[in-house]
């Protein structure tokens, strides 16, 4: 083999090593920031009864928008859970996005809704609204029936109907903690510069659900779900928390987020047709509002406030991860001018490059790294001992990160009550590094390939509904 090829292969190995070191450093930094952030947050709200405080404060009423499409299995539980939330003044706006199943019938049967004449206020782009209904039993429940136009379109239709100054967007397959609105609205009241707040999402598969609320937190028996529990802990407790400390959050979860209504309207609502609308809207908000007011904040609350159903089969998980990866690429591609742009502060200098280099391009480097590594090994370019040692470090580092997130959960929120669950989580944090992570990287890599090839549409996610989980 010519020397030049050998040198290229070796250099690529060193490049991957360098990339690995960079990612380690960033993660370490995020870990430190997250620990500090969570401890400060807990210190702030530990002693106070938010419900009591809110009744006295200048709270802002909230409209909760729930876009739904073919959610007949879980919609009733979801809406029941939403109606029981603790907040002095809120309305629930369920937007039926042209479901082909019995979603609307279920709402008719369970909440006694009836058609009313109602005039939408804003004119954000959305497909035509067929009818608007209100519940006889719950006057703060409004149901909007519209032509199918996708999630972003459904949210825009909801914004047009919603009247309150804060808009919470909740996925229909999510269950919220009773005090979640008190917690998510708090940053808006503390600081007028806050335009959006994201909540921490936890996994509901395996939990005991009573009357639309998570009554007992338990781990699922499926290892696939357990690995996702670890992923969620890592993403929310470390990733977003750390970036939040630098005001560099690029995404708040679509499962539960809250916005200033005026801010949403000003930027023209959600971008219809975007693959990852959750990320796109946040980046757009940073861009528009930071130009006007550099103090603009998009923040995040570390408290576990929202529980969601995650894919329980490899097929649906693959579909979800492919969609997420395409969404990341889409968001970054559309707003690439933020990359290393000091006008946006830490967001431009750290947050955006982090997402570009590690979240978007990570799978490319990882998969190509594995391939080149194996080639180097068979060509005797690196010693077997070195190969084994390097792989061990990479895996152990992953294990440490996962375990740190479990530890942070244990010392801060302690939601998994059984010791057995805790030990299983540690086991999952270890095992996921052997196969699962590589599989997810492979899917993300495929998503990049598909995106580059022009295949950018959404995949399907299998809906099970909470009532069937348990």
């Amino acid at each position: 083999m010519p020397n030049i090829i050998k040198n290229i292969i070796l250099s690529y190995n060193y490049l991957v090593l360098l990339y690995f070191l960079a990612i380690c450093t960033i993660y370490l930094l995020l870990n430190i920031l997250s620990f500090r952030n969570i401890l400060r947050y807990n210190k702030k709200i530990h002693f106070i009864d938010l419900n009591r405080i809110f009744r006295l404060k200048n709270y802002k009423p909230i409209s909760i928008i729930v876009p739904t499409y073919n959610e007949e299995m879980g919609i009733v539980e979801s809406v029941k859970s939403l109606l029981q939330l603790e907040y002095p003044d809120f309305q629930v706006v369920v937007v039926n996005d042209g479901s082909q199943d019995n979603t609307l019938d279920k709402l008719f049967t369970n909440f006694g809704i009836r058609q009313v004449s109602f005039t939408p206020f804003y004119k954000l782009p959305s497909k035509p609204i067929g009818a608007i209904y209100i519940s006889r039993d719950f006057p703060n429940l409004i149901v909007v029936d519209k032509e199918n136009g996708g999630k972003a379109d459904a949210i825009n239709a909801g914004i047009n109907i919603a009247k309150n100054p804060l808009i919470a967007v909740v996925d229909a397959d999510s269950l919220l903690e009773r005090d979640c609105l008190l917690k998510i609205a708090r940053p808006f009241m503390e600081d007028d510069n806050v335009v959006a707040v994201g909540g921490t999402i936890r996994i509901a598969n395996g939990c005991e659900i009573i009357q639309g609320h998570v009554a007992k937190v338990k781990l699922s028996h499926s290892w696939l779900v357990r690995f996702q529990v670890i992923e969620y802990l890592r993403a929310f407790l470390f990733g977003r928390n750390g970036l939040d400390a630098l005001n560099s959050i690029l995404i708040v979860s679509g499962a539960f987020s809250c916005f200033q209504r005026d801010a949403l309207v000003k930027i023209g609502g959600y971008k219809v047709g975007s693959v990852g609308e959750d990320m796109e809207i946040i980046i757009r908000m940073h861009k528009v509002f930071r130009k006007e007011n550099p103090k603009t904040k998009i923040t995040f609350i570390p408290d576990p406030v929202c529980w969601t159903e995650v894919p329980a089969t490899l097929k649906s998980l693959k579909s979800q991860r492919v969609r997420w990866q395409k969404g990341t690429i889409d968001g970054i591609r559309l707003h690439k001018d933020i990359f290393l742009n000091s006008k946006y502060g830490w967001l431009g200098l750290l947050g955006f490059p982090y997402y570009t280099l590690f979240e978007m391009l990570g799978p490319v480097v990882e998969i190509s790294g594995y391939i080149v590594f194996i080639i180097s090994f068979f060509l005797n370019l690196i010693s077997p001992l070195f190969a084994v040692a390097f792989l061990t470090v990479a895996i152990l580092y992953g294990v440490v990160l996962s375990i740190l997130s479990v530890i942070l959960e244990e010392i801060s929120f302690k939601r998994y009550a059984k010791l057995g669950d805790l030990i299983t989580l540690f086991a999952a944090a270890f095992i996921e590094n052997f196969g699962y992570r590589q599989l997810v990287s492979w899917w993300r890599f495929l998503a990049i390939v598909e995106y580059v090839a022009g295949k950018r549409q959404w995949g399907d996610i299998e809906k099970k509904g909470f009532s069937h989980n348990n």
Binding site: R40, K43, K44, I45, H46, F47, I48, D49, L50, R52, I53, L56, K57, N58, R114, V116, S117, F118, T119, P120, F121, Y122, I134, S135, R136, P139, K163, P165, R186, E190, D192, R261, D262, V265, I382, S383, L385, F386, A389, F390, T392, V393, L396, Y397, V399, V400, I403, L404, V406, I407, E410, I411, K414, L419, L422, I423, F426
Partner: protein, 355 residues
């Protein structure tokens, strides 16, 4: 070069392995200890709950009761009593509080209050406040000088529960030295006081204290509907530029319907901050719009959505004389935004009628 690199990697592996091992061990240890304490508490509760019910029913002697409990189990007993104290009222509450007032338990709590460990001080202060043990007041006051925020909050809350009105000023002064102490925490402490705290707070409102403290004080006045403070709150409203404080003053004036404040509130309709305009509209609606009806009506055409909505809601709820005009606007196609909002508010009234 690669030999050195290999060496470094092996060291890193060793460090990572040790870290993982120690971290897991630490957390499992913590959890085992926590589970052990929970089991111990449950066992104690199974054993003693019945005895407490008997003590309450038979009006037993608190001293005799406490004598039966081994001193090493006082903390378990306190935890059990906490549930009773939080759910009982009147003489039954007093009966349970009497148990905590017994010398043995009191001494136990005071010993912990003087501990260097934050958790011990916090739990001790919590129980002294929950049982309203007045004789612990001086010790709790001393603890206000702490540098620890949790200790400060717990001692200040206990003093408020004891209704130690004389230290409210000190609590506010000390609160300033805690950077992370939120407005909510301060308000939460003050809410534990009874209404007699309002008089000393009224004096403080006119003094030079930070705006967030004034805001908490006005919130408290609103909670107690403390009419006597209305002139001073109005004066505060005229002097301050702080938006949160302005909003709180307006809400107070609205809730107690202090008509004399009309002259201060009226100009705020045109305040540059839309939140202030919103509160001013709502307040004038409640105080009586009088000659300002047209002005409020004009706010239907404001640039800000919240201002428009407040105007429409106020007209529909509090200004009957302007409702016809609102109806007209609802069917006037030329004023698109105002039309939409008028229709929305009127539809809402219809919706409520349907419901």
């Amino acid at each position: 070069m690669s030999y050195i690199l290999l060496h470094i990697i092996v060291y890193i592996i060793f460090i990572l392995l040790c870290t993982v091992y120690l971290l897991i061990l630490y957390v499992i240890d913590l959890r085992l200890y926590h589970d052990y304490l929970t089991r111990r508490q449950h066992k104690f509760e199974d054993q003693w709950e019945k005895a407490i019910f008997q003590y309450l029913q038979l009006r037993g002697d608190p001293e005799d009761f406490i004598k039966k409990v081994p001193s090493r189990k006082y903390l378990l007993l306190l935890e059990l009593l906490r549930q009773f104290l939080l759910s009982l009222t009147g003489s039954e509450y007093e009966k349970i509080a009497d148990l905590i007032k017994q010398k043995r338990i009191y001494d136990f709590l005071i010993k912990r209050l003087n501990s260097f460990r934050t958790n011990r001080v916090v739990t001790s202060a919590y129980f002294l406040g929950l049982a309203k043990i007045v004789k612990a007041k001086d010790l709790l006051i001393k603890k206000l000088d702490t540098d620890s925020q949790p200790v400060f909050i717990s001692c200040a809350t206990s003093l408020a529960q004891i209704d130690a009105v004389e230290v409210v000023e000190k609590i506010l002064t000390r609160a300033e030295s805690f950077k992370d102490l939120s407005r909510d925490s301060l308000l939460f402490i003050l809410l534990e006081y009874k209404q007699d705290v309002c008089a000393p707070l009224l004096k403080l409102l006119s003094s030079k204290i930070p705006d967030y403290q004034k805001e908490a004080i006005v919130s408290l006045f609103r909670q107690f509907k403390y009419q006597e403070s209305a002139p001073e709150v109005t004066k505060t409203l005229t002097k301050t530029q702080n938006i949160d404080l302005i909003l709180e003053c307006l809400r107070f004036i609205r809730e107690i319907r202090y008509v004399e404040a009309h002259y201060v509130v009226n100009p705020m309709l045109d305040h540059k901050n839309p939140h202030v305009s919103v509160e001013a509209i709502k307040t004038i609606g409640k105080l009586g719009a009088g000659p300002l009806v047209d002005k409020i009506f004009s706010k239907l055409f404001d640039d800000n959505y919240e201002v428009q909505l407040a105007a429409a809601v106020t007209i529909s709820q509090d200004i009957p004389s302007a409702r016809d005009k609102l109806n007209k606007i609802a069917y006037n196609v030329n004023k698109e935004r105002a039309t939409s909002i008028a229709r929305m508010v009127l539809s809402e009234i219809d919706l409520r009628r349907y419901a």
